[in-house]
């Protein structure tokens, strides 16, 4: 599904190098987790994959189902099936959640040469998905993320994911700022979307999210590289001993 090879990235306006040769391959249907200390380049990786401006790829490649991601605009990557759940979802006053969602769905359909979804079908679809995420109708009517609690914002991200049905989902510290109950709700939403044709890349600081979203593979990222990969037990090791041992061992 997602293949990243020797990816080097620097900031566009500064000489600061952030990713120093990332290699990662997520197979179709798998859930991979990336853990790592602050500043290791985890969020940058998610931004570079989804096409945020401000970064310059100096070497390497990233493909989604064989398609070169790095030459595409963010909206083209979305239409190709990539989705990034933001660490800090953006508030957009004056634009209703439903209008936003429908604009997104229809834009992606148009890009793929499909017909627009009818208003009634769309309403039905969103209501159904919202119900499983315990998102009430009132939240759908409100402007995008405005006045939402931290938990509501993250659930709204998962709702967008559920409605847009991407193939490759990247979750950037979706657990940050959530209490245990909210985290569980979000994890349930993600688990409901797991299927043989969809892959996930879950970026997190802590092991606790991985208690709820069980990963197939865990990677440790440090100083712009993946320094170790293993099974779920790797996350437990980090939880127990911190990153210091692993980093010392790698050095």
């Amino acid at each position: 599904m997602l293949k990243i090879k020797d990816l080097h990235v620097k900031l566009q306006d500064e000489e600061k190098v952030i990713l120093k040769g990332v290699d990662l391959e997520v197979a179709t249907g798998q859930v991979h987790a990336i853990m790592g200390p602050n500043g290791s380049g985890k969020s940058t990786l998610s931004y570079v994959l989804s096409g945020r401006e401000g970064y310059e790829v100096t070497a390497g490649s990233a493909t989604l189902q064989g398609q070169d991601l790095l030459v595409l605009d963010p909206e083209e990557r979305a239409a190709a099936g990539l989705f990034l759940a933001f660490q800090y979802p953006v508030e957009i006053p004056g634009v209703g959640n439903m209008v936003f969602l429908r604009t997104a769905v229809n834009a992606q359909r148009k890009a793929r040469g499909e017909d627009e979804i009818s208003a009634t079908d769309f309403l039905k679809l969103v209501r159904e998905k919202a119900k499983t995420l315990k998102i009430d109708a009132d939240m759908l009517k409100r402007p995008v993320n405005v006045g939402f609690s931290g938990g509501e914002k993250k659930r709204n991200e998962i709702l967008q994911m559920a409605v847009l049905e991407p193939r490759m989902c990247i979750l950037d510290e979706t657990d940050s700022g959530l209490d245990v109950d909210a985290m569980k709700l979000v994890a349930d939403g993600v688990n409901a979307l797991r299927d043989a044709g969809r892959s996930f890349l879950v970026i997190t600081h802590y092991q606790r999210l991985l208690d709820h979203i069980a990963p197939d593979v865990v990677h440790i990222m440090a100083d712009g590289r993946i320094v170790r990969s293993g099974g779920p037990e790797l996350a437990l090791e980090v939880e127990k001993n911190g990153y210091a041992d692993i980093l010392a061992e790698v050095r």
Binding site: G51, E53, D73, P74, V95
Partner: protein, 400 residues
């Protein structure tokens, strides 16, 4: 009425014509409003008519003259309508009085000129709740029409009126509207201005707002080489509400775009609320001006005044000039103002694009988001939807 005109001419002679040395004309040049030749401006038909699905009473002015053939029969329960030339008794002393009072503390010579030389206008007295909106529809047939129109609207205590004002009155237009909102009366004014890119307009609203009355005015401007919209609102009765809002979108690629909102709200009573909400979207060298003042007189306690003016620059070539002012002589008031100038928020743009919304569509959504506070000042949902539709038309025409 001749006495009214003579008095206004005398006011104008005493004040003289404004120049860019005048404090409130530094950013907008009044010269073309005095030029003998009217610069040409052709009406265009790019925009679809607005409010066409609404039941309303329409009064049409073509090139500054009332067009009876194109207008509806001026009969509406609780509303008396006459032309300026046939002023009924109640209007004889009223016309020009609010304009004259509004000449202090800042002089408004173009409004005095209007009172002295108006070619037409309507006089409306509302005695009850108007069952449908009154619609003043301006049309332009000549490319050099020069319209000077003067309207007077009087709402008796408890009366209600929604006034729609649409279209281009002329290649050059000077429009004055005096509004006297009686005790407990409610006045809503919605004004999508000008459907021609080249027109020049100077407009002035002089309002007096009585106790427990509501005055609300919203203007949408998307065209015009030069627009100067002034509003002088005097709150004279306790617990009254006065809101004035505007959304302006200018693209210098269509033609020059210079848009100026100059507002002066005076609180002269206890417990009143005022709002000034002005938003401008500018691109390709468009220029926006905002000059807004809240004056709270001695004794106008418990005043709640708020003013916000914001510009969204879609490129680096634009200019926004803002002068917010507060002058307060009462000690128990809540007054604040803010003014910002900014570009499209790159994080929000990326957020929308990451969901599959193409860049241009995402920018259009963020423009609507920016304007939302001003649009929210429109109470009537049907009217707001029509305004939004016209906005979306403009955004669709100005992509890329």
């Amino acid at each position: 009425m001749q006495a009214v005109r003579t008095a206004a001419a005398a006011r104008l002679a005493e004040m003289g014509w404004p120049t860019r040395r005048d404090e409130y004309w530094r950013w907008t040049d009044p010269a073309t409003f005095a030029a003998e030749e009217v610069p040409e401006s052709e009406a265009f038909r790019v925009e679809r008519p607005i409010f066409s699905g609404m039941d309303k009473l329409r009064l049409v002015f073509t090139d500054g003259v009332f067009d009876a053939a194109a207008s509806d029969d001026a009969a509406l329960a609780g509303v008396e309508i006459s032309r300026l030339a046939n002023a009924p008794k109640w209007a004889v002393d009223a016309v020009g009085s609010l304009e004259a009072a509004g000449q202090k503390p800042v002089r408004r010579p173009l409004a005095a000129l209007n009172t002295a030389r108006a070619t037409d206008g309507i006089l409306v007295r509302v005695t009850g709740r108007a069952t449908k909106p009154l619609h003043i529809s301006y049309r332009q047939s000549s490319n050099t029409s020069d319209a000077i129109l003067h309207h007077y609207i009087k709402l008796e205590p408890g009366a209600e009126l929604t006034l729609l004002e649409t279209g281009t009155a002329g290649a050059r237009a000077n429009l004055v509207m005096e509004v006297d909102v009686g005790e407990g009366a409610r006045f809503h004014h919605i004004r999508p201005q000008g459907r021609s890119v080249g027109h020049r307009v100077v407009s002035a609203i002089f309002a007096r707002v009585g106790a427990q009355a509501v005055f609300k005015s919203f203007t949408l401007s998307m065209n015009g080489r030069l627009t100067r919209n002034e509003a002088m609102i005097e709150i004279v009765g306790d617990n009254a509400v006065a809101h004035i809002a505007g959304a302006a979108l200018g693209d210098g690629a269509d033609d020059d775009f210079h848009h100026d909102d100059t507002v002066f709200i005076t609180h002269g009573a206890v417990g009143c609320e005022s709002r000034q909400v002005f938003k401008k979207v500018l691109r390709h060298g468009a220029v926006g001006v905002f000059q807004g003042k809240i004056l709270v007189r001695n004794g106008a306690q418990k005043t709640d005044g708020y003013q916000i003016s914001q510009a969204l620059m879609l490129d680096d070539s634009c200019q926004f000039l803002a002068k917010p002012e507060l002058e307060i002589y009462a000690d128990d008031v809540k007054c604040s103002h803010g003014s910002t100038t900014g570009a499209i928020d790159e994080t929000a743009l990326f957020y929308l694009r990451s969901r599959g919304v193409p860049r241009e569509e995402a920018v259009a959504l963020l423009v609507l988001s920016f304007l939302a506070d001003a649009i929210a000042e429109i109470d009537d949902e049907t009217i707001a939807a029509d305004i939004l539709a016209r906005l979306e038309e403009w955004l669709a025409r100005h992509r890329g």
